[in-house]
Amino acid sequence: MDFSIIINEYQFYLEGLWTTTWLVALSLILGLCIAIPAGILRSSENKLIRFPIWAFMYFFRGSPLLVQLFIIYYGAAQFDWLRESWMWHYFQEAWFCALLAFTLNTGAYTAEIVRGVISTMPQGELEAAKAYGMSKWQTLRRITLPNSLRRALPAYSNEVIFMIHGSAIAGIVTIVDITGAARVVNARYYAPFEAYLAAAVLYMCLTFSAIYIFKQWEKHYRIEQ
């Protein structure tokens, strides 16, 4: 057992930690931007709106994140029209493909969380809003969203943790994230135990930081313990 190699190669791990952090953070933010409208419109009365959102959520929740990343990274390169368009400028970058896959994936999962908490809104509050003469939009903005997003926090914190862990597959498409760094170090020194243990410690730091932040948030909103 020789942990001096981890200390010698610490800059790989720092680079990996930074990559994992911004990749996951950005996917979560963009994913949330998809999830909230999708979660609301999922229960729309219009079939033309409801069906595409259902299909999106069904696909991204129904298949593994790894497969989705492969489809976007290797699959996209197969189409000449895509490679000749301006979009290839982005699709040729591994980070963009990973960001896209992660965003759509977490977007679909979070949309399901949002749909769930909206459908379990206390009927009394909605009736009270109606009695006050609030329009549909006002009810959504003033009553439904604040109440349900607060209740969504515990479930969403789980999704964040899953995303941090799921991001480990980014290394497969040449990105040097935490796992990617561990692979480079393992490849050089053939020391899998030390290399991956260091990666596990970094993931634990990230995960526990996320859990801590969510705990503070939940306390702030006094969510049912």
Partner: protein, 255 residues
């Protein structure tokens, strides 16, 4: 009590004194490095390395089991006793010899760059600055590029096949691998006619060693001796040449 300790002593002594003749050997192979080792549609593994492994086992009259293992975990897996030897076009390098022992070489093929036709090439870090170079992770080429072209953007892949895919998708400017692997895995395959070798054949022993050998755990010296004897035999009796001619039109053993 005395009897038992005598028995234990006898067991320990016998296992230490008598060199074990290996009758059953598990061999780690990669299965993603054509034409040395590739996985067929039906799941079976074929290729030069595989034929060599089978020929050596036949020569040693040993029962061999092939175990498929991804490249970047292949040395750790050997040390974790998942198998007893690696036959996977592994260059005998000083770096690897810190962890494992090698038999004599069984082939020696230079490494080369491959790129789209008419891509320029200069062997300087300045020219390679910002260029995307694909290599297979944990190979001699990985180290060679990392050490010689630090300003290039090195992309590391789990297998050479994945690097070829990204070269075809123009995500990479160059790929570096064994020249014979590039010929068999890219140039002779569909769509390969758009690519060509660039630059000279590279075989600096500092990075590429003295050729590819069979890797074994350091303490299994008897197994190394057994492999070396069998290797000499198949070189002498023409079996090696027969296998070589099946895959290559040139001498892969080297001088």
């Amino acid at each position: 009590m005395k009897k038992i300790s005598l028995l234990i002593a006898a067991v320990i002594l016998s296992s230490n004194v008598v060199a074990k003749e290996w009758k059953s050997i598990r061999i780690g192979v990669e299965g993603a490095y054509p034409p040395f080792s590739q996985t067929e549609a039906d799941g079976s593994i074929t290729g030069f390395d595989i034929d060599i492994a089978n020929a050596l086992c036949a020569e040693m009259k040993a029962k061999c089991t092939l175990v498929k293992q991804d490249w970047d975990g292949i040395i750790p897996a050997l040390m974790a006793r998942k198998f007893d030897a690696i036959i996977a076009t592994m260059d005998i390098t000083a770096e690897r010899q810190k962890k494992v022992a090698f038999t004599d070489k069984y082939q020696h093929i230079p490494a080369r760059f491959v790129a789209l036709k008419d891509t320029g090439y200069e062997a300087t870090d300045e020219f390679m600055k910002g260029k995307n170079i694909g290599v297979q992770r944990a190979t001699s080429m990985d180290l060679y590029i990392s050490d010689n072209y630090p300003s290039a953007k090195i992309k590391r892949y789990g297998s050479a096949d994945e690097a070829y895919l990204d070269l075809k998708a123009s995500r990479l400017d160059y790929v570096m691998a064994d020249s014979a692997a590039i010929t068999g895995g890219l140039l002779e395959k569909e769509g390969g006619d758009k690519f060509e070798f660039v630059g000279p054949q590279l075989n600096d022993p500092k990075w590429f060693g003295e050729g590819a050998g069979i890797a074994i755990r350091k303490k299994d010296k008897d197994l190394a001796a057994q492999f070396n004897a069998a290797l000499k035999e198949i070189r002498a009796n023409g079996v090696y040449k027969e296998i070589q001619d099946k895959y290559f039109s040139f001498d892969v053993y080297g001088g």
